[in-house]
Each structure stands twice: as structure tokens, then as C-alpha cells.
């Protein structure tokens, strides 16, 4: 690919996203969180696990937001702002990794299933149906019981489940495109199956693919938050859900509104941002939505 083409593609994507206010809004939020995740150590004023003391020398337990602790402190005297910043990193990493891996799995299954049809299609789709039946949290519990708690198991558990919807949807789209005459033309011109799937069909499902990438990342973030809220995350890697878990077991959920507010708001913001961006791609995937 010529650099010029890459530039062209990037520009067209920026244009797609910024076409609407919500797309721009979503993009800005993502960029914000991305930067926070990237520069976490530089931005966080304190260590996430450090028990802090107030100016008077007492342990800063459950302090509401103040100039000293902008977002307040936890039951253990830890700075919520720092915790938030480090958690962003965890969330972004898990969200991106699990999201991207799951879309890779889902897209390929969808493409192969849709293109080849027949027995391959049937077996892949039956497999997808089985995965549909699998509940996320129990699966995660089993993994943790077997292998112990780790960031990676959370990612694996998410990947195992989240791909299923994208597989279905991409298969449907592939089926539709496969019928079109330019695919027949490609076959007649001597293109191998591999080439047809990845050079001819894939570019045509790209908007849908990007849409579901955004969804997958959003679902991964939510899955992770749910898992950590229930206490099933890696204790060494704090996330927003994990912060809420700590809040929950401390019993102070009714009183420490700040401890509750910031993680929740951020989860909502991040997921919304992803959905907004996906909305922008949805219009490209389905042009009829453009007409009001």
C-alpha cells in the first residue's frame, strides 16, 4: 500500500467519524482515555496502593473530594484520582486487546462461514450457537478456579465469548456480498478463494467490521467491569470495576458517593464513546440511515 493511500484512508475515516457531533464527541473521549492510559505513571499524583495521610498526619480515610485529594479517597486511604488513572490503563488494555482479538476471531469465522457455506458453515454456526449459550461470569469463574487470577484469564474469557455476535453478523453480510456479480467476476479472473475473501469481500464489509470492532471493544470493557465488580479480576491490576468491588465490600456504598461516582461515570463514558463512534460507521454500513 502506498503511503498516499493510507493517508487517504485515514482522512476518510476521520471524516466519517467527525461527520456528526456524537462521533466527534466519542472520538475525543477515546483520545482522552487513550492518552491517560498511555501516560498514567506521569499523570498520577500518587501510587494507586499507597495509604495516604492528610496534612494533619492522620490516615486519609474516606475523604470526599478536596483540593488535596481531587477525587477523594477510599476506605484504605488511597487516592481515588490515582486509582482512576491507573485503572484507565487496565481498562483500555483489556478493552482493546480483548476487543480486537474477539473481532479477529468473529470476523474470520463469519467470513469463512459465509463464503464457503455447506458443512463448514453449519459446523461453525452450530459452534457459535453453543457459545451463545455460554454465560460469561460462570465461565470466568471456572477459568479462575482452574488457573488462578490473572489479567490474561480475564482477556481470554472475554475473547471466548464476545466474538459470537460479530461472527453472525459478518457471516450474513458475507453471504450477501458473495452473491454479487463482481465476486463471480473475480473467480472467473482466476482469484483464489483466499484472495477473494480478503481482497474482494473484506473491503466491502469494512464499515460493518469497524462498527462491530467498536461494539466488541465496548462489550469487552463492560464484561471486564462486570467481572471485576463481582471480584473476579486480577487483584494486582486495578480497574474501574475493581474499584467498585472494593467499594462494595467496604459497605460504604451509600455514603462515599465520590468513590462510586467516578468509576461509574467513566465506564459509561467510555462505552458511550465507543457506541457513538460505531454509530458513525453504521451510517456508512447502511447508507439508508443517512436519509432522515
Amino acid at each position: 500500500m502506498i503511503p498516499g493511500r493510507v493517508h487517504e484512508i485515514l482522512v476518510s475515516h476521520v471524516r466519517i467519524i467527525t461527520r456528526h457531533k456524537f462521533g466527534t464527541f466519542g472520538a475525543l473521549i477515546l483520545v482522552f482515555f487513550g492518552l491517560v492510559a498511555l501516560f498514567a505513571p506521569l499523570l498520577a499524583p500518587h501510587d494507586a496502593w499507597e495509604t495516604l495521610k492528610t496534612a494533619e498526619g492522620r490516615v486519609a480515610i474516606l475523604k470526599p473530594p478536596s483540593s488535596e485529594f481531587p477525587l477523594g479517597t477510599t476506605m484504605m486511604g488511597r487516592d481515588i484520582l490515582s486509582q482512576m488513572i491507573y485503572s484507565t490503563r487496565t481498562t483500555v488494555v483489556i478493552g482493546l486487546t480483548a476487543g480486537l482479538i474477539s473481532i479477529l476471531i468473529g470476523a474470520n469465522i463469519g467470513l469463512l462461514s459465509g463464503y464457503y457455506g455447506g458443512k463448514l458453515d453449519e459446523s461453525l454456526m452450530r459452534f457459535t450457537d453453543i457459545i451463545y449459550g455460554m454465560p460469561f461470569v460462570p465461565f470466568l469463574i471456572v477459568l479462575i478456579a482452574l488457573f488462578g487470577r490473572s489479567l490474561w484469564f480475564v482477556i481470554i474469557a472475554i475473547c471466548c465469548i464476545v466474538w459470537r455476535t460479530s461472527a453472525r453478523v459478518i457471516r450474513a453480510q458475507t453471504l450477501a456480498i458473495r452473491q454479487r456479480q463482481f465476486i463471480q467476476a473475480a473467480k472467473a479472473r482466476g482469484c483464489s478463494d483466499f484472495r477473494i475473501i480478503y481482497s474482494h469481500i473484506l473491503p466491502n464489509i469494512l464499515p460493518l467490521l469497524l462498527l462491530y470492532t467498536a461494539f466488541n471493544i465496548a462489550w469487552s470493557v463492560l464484561a471486564e467491569a462486570s467481572a471485576s465488580f463481582l471480584g473476579f479480576s486480577d487483584p494486582n491490576n486495578l480497574s474501574w470495576g475493581g474499584m467498585l468491588y472494593e467499594l462494595w465490600i467496604s459497605g460504604k456504598i451509600r455514603t462515599a458517593w465520590w468513590w462510586f461516582a467516578w468509576p461509574s461515570i467513566c465506564i459509561v463514558l467510555l462505552v458511550s464513546a465507543l457506541v457513538f463512534i460505531s454509530r458513525a460507521y453504521e451510517e456508512v454500513a447502511n447508507p439508508r440511515l443517512k436519509q432522515r
Binding site: R180, Q181, F182, Q184, A185, A186, K187, A188, R189, G190, C191, S192, R195, H200, P203, N204, L206
Partner: protein
């Protein structure tokens, strides 16, 4: 021996009735005999027209020749070699030599590819490496198709008119230098004032690039103008085959006679003789024995018409008919 020989070609599609029908009324699967015993040959360098209405099997025959479909029975021999037994390498060589121009200029081009990529794709798919070689070939083919490369190479299909798109389609079919080109209704979806240009292009290029052409169309007016020999199909079988002049001026088969007399003429003063056939055109599903045209034929009075399938006989030199009258 011509460049292509088709012998007793058959393509049957099976329709499975529902589970209940199968169990309760013991219904057997229906058969769509899209192509049912087609035999013909083409000489190198000629333009053979295949005419027929929808459901006659002409498009299926094209798909069988280009190996987009595999036959149920029968043989297709290209330059003497049976193409059903081709290994991967031979298939590649075959595709290089036998190409197809599609009907719909709006659907046969990948909307995400530029004109350059569309014409280069066959070269890339075949592994003809070398950026420079590809560019040379693409440019020269675009020129042959009447499109200036500098102007068109970066345009996407949605930026082209119907006629331009079809030229790109033609270029992508010809870039590999095929010896047999199948044109499947290449002008049916184009405006009238543009058709002549594309027809001329195909005709000129078939001479310049020395390829044989099978031109499929439902429009006999177009075929009368471009094809040298004409084959008329009905419900999966060949009804008549001969030089275009012979078939159009003196059609022998009742179906051909009806078809030709039904073609409207762009001349208000001409009073067309009315074709005399009854019934609706049927689907080639579970056809009854005997001549396919029997139920609608105004002259189908002989006993054989309803029981025996008429073979394709040479009624006059070079003029073949599948009818018991001959």
C-alpha cells in the same frame, strides 16, 4: 476441430421438497434441467451468438464453460482437452485463456477497487509479478478498450458511466490475453446510443486480438448484427444452429420462427407477421418426455413430438435443427 467442443452437456439442479412432502406423499426431488444435452462447436476466430429467452440455459452454459459451475454430465473440450479434469495449475492456464464479460456494468465491478486495480487484478491473481509489467499491460488494455489510462486509472466505479464501466469490465477480461471470450449480454443494461460503441469494440477487438467470441443475448436484433453463427436455445436444449443469415432469414424450427417473427422492428411501416404459439413460457423443471417445445408448438402434430426428444440434425448444409419435421 474447433477451439471449443461441447458435447451432450447437462446441468441439473435438484430442488428438495419439504420434509413432509417427502414423507407423506413420497415426492421425489424436483429437477431443474437448466442445460439438458447441449452440443455444439466453435471455430477459432468466429463470433457465435447464443439466443434464447429466460430459462433457456444460455447463461448456465456460459457458467459451465468458464467453470463457475461444474456440469452434471457431458463434456467440454477446449483445444481438445477435457476441462473437467483440470488440476490447479491447468485451471489457472485455462482461466487465462477463457474469460467472460458480464452483463451488469453496475454489479460486475468491485466498488472498492479503482479502475487500475480492477484491470490489474487478473494479473495479480495469476501471479504475474512486476509492478512495471502490470502497469504496462493495464495501460495498454485500457487504451484498447477506449479509455485513456491517465484519466481513468484512479476512478472508482461509481464515478463512471455505464458505458465506461462496461469498458473497464471488457479491459479486465482481456488483460490476460484470452483466446476465448464469452460475452454474457454485455450491452443489455446500457443505453441504446452507447450500445453500438461497445458492440463495435467487441467486434474490432476480436479481430485485432484474435479471440473467439461467444455472444449471448436475448436480443435477436443485436445478434443479427454481431454474430456470424447463431444458436437458439429453449428450456436447456439447442433448437437451431446455423449461420446467422440462414437462421434469421429462413428459420426452420417452429420456435425459431416464432421468436424471429416476434422481434419488433424499428420501422412503423413494417407489418410484422404474428407468431403463432400458445401457452406461457415454462420453467425447465421436471420437463415431460419428448420435444421441449411440444406443448406450445403450432406444428407439433406428429406422435414422436410428445415422446421422443428430437436430435440435432443437419437439415441443410451447416444448418442444424432439433425438430421431428426434419
Amino acid at each position: 476441430m474447433g477451439i471449443l467442443e461441447v458435447e451432450k452437456l447437462r446441468k441439473h439442479f435438484y430442488l428438495n421438497p419439504g420434509f413432509l412432502s417427502r414423507v407423506v406423499s413420497k415426492k421425489k426431488p424436483s429437477v431443474i434441467k437448466a442445460v439438458d444435452g447441449v452440443s455444439f462447436g466453435i471455430e477459432a476466430g468466429e463470433i457465435l451468438g447464443i439466443a434464447g429467452e429466460s430459462g433457456c440455459g444460455k447463461s448456465t452454459t456460459c457458467s459451465l464453460i468458464t467453470k463457475l459451475l461444474e456440469p452434471t454430465a457431458g463434456a467440454i473440450r477446449y483445444k481438445g482437452q477435457d476441462i473437467s479434469q483440470l488440476g490447479k495449475k491447468d485451471l489457472k492456464a485455462y482461466r487465462q485463456q477463457v474469460q467472460i464479460i458480464f452483463q451488469d456494468p453496475y454489479e460486475s465491478l468491485n466498488p472498492r477497487f479503482t479502475t487500475f486495480d480492477l484491470v490489474a487484478e487478473p494479473l495479480r491473481a495469476m501471479g504475474i509479478a512486476g509492478k512495471r509489467e502490470i502497469q504496462e499491460k493495464v495501460f495498454s488494455t485500457l487504451e484498447l478498450a477506449g479509455l485513456k489510462p491517465e484519466e481513468y486509472q484512479n476512478r472508482y466505479p461509481h464515478q463512471l458511466s455505464g458505458g465506461e464501466r462496461q469498458r473497464v469490465g471488457i479491459a479486465s477480461a482481456l488483460v490476460l490475453g484470452p483466446e476465448l471470450v464469452i460475452a454474457d449480454e454485455p450491452v443489455s443494461m446500457l443505453d441504446v446510443s452507447i450500445r453500438a460503441g461497445i458492440l463495435d469494440l467487441i467486434r474490432d477487438l476480436s479481430v485485432r486480438l484474435r479471440f473467439t467470441c461467444i455472444f449471448v443475448s436475448h436480443d435477436l436484433s443485436i445478434l443479427s448484427n454481431i454474430s456470424e453463427r447463431l444458436m437458439i436455445m429453449y428450456l436447456g436444449k439447442v433448437m437451431e444452429l446455423g449461420t446467422t443469415r440462414d437462421v434469421i432469414a429462413e428459420p426452420l424450427h417452429p420456435y425459431a420462427q416464432a421468436l424471429i417473427s416476434a422481434v419488433p422492428i424499428p420501422d412503423p411501416s413494417y407489418k410484422r407477421p404474428r407468431p403463432n404459439i400458445k401457452g406461457e413460457v415454462s420453467q425447465p423443471i421436471d420437463p415431460p418426455p419428448g420435444c421441449r417445445f411440444h406443448s406450445r408448438c403450432p406444428q407439433g402434430i406428429m406422435e414422436e413430438c410428445g415422446t421422443v426428444d428430437p436430435p440435432l440434425n443437419e437439415a441443410k448444409p451447416g444448418h442444424f435443427v432439433a425438430c421431428h419435421l426434419y
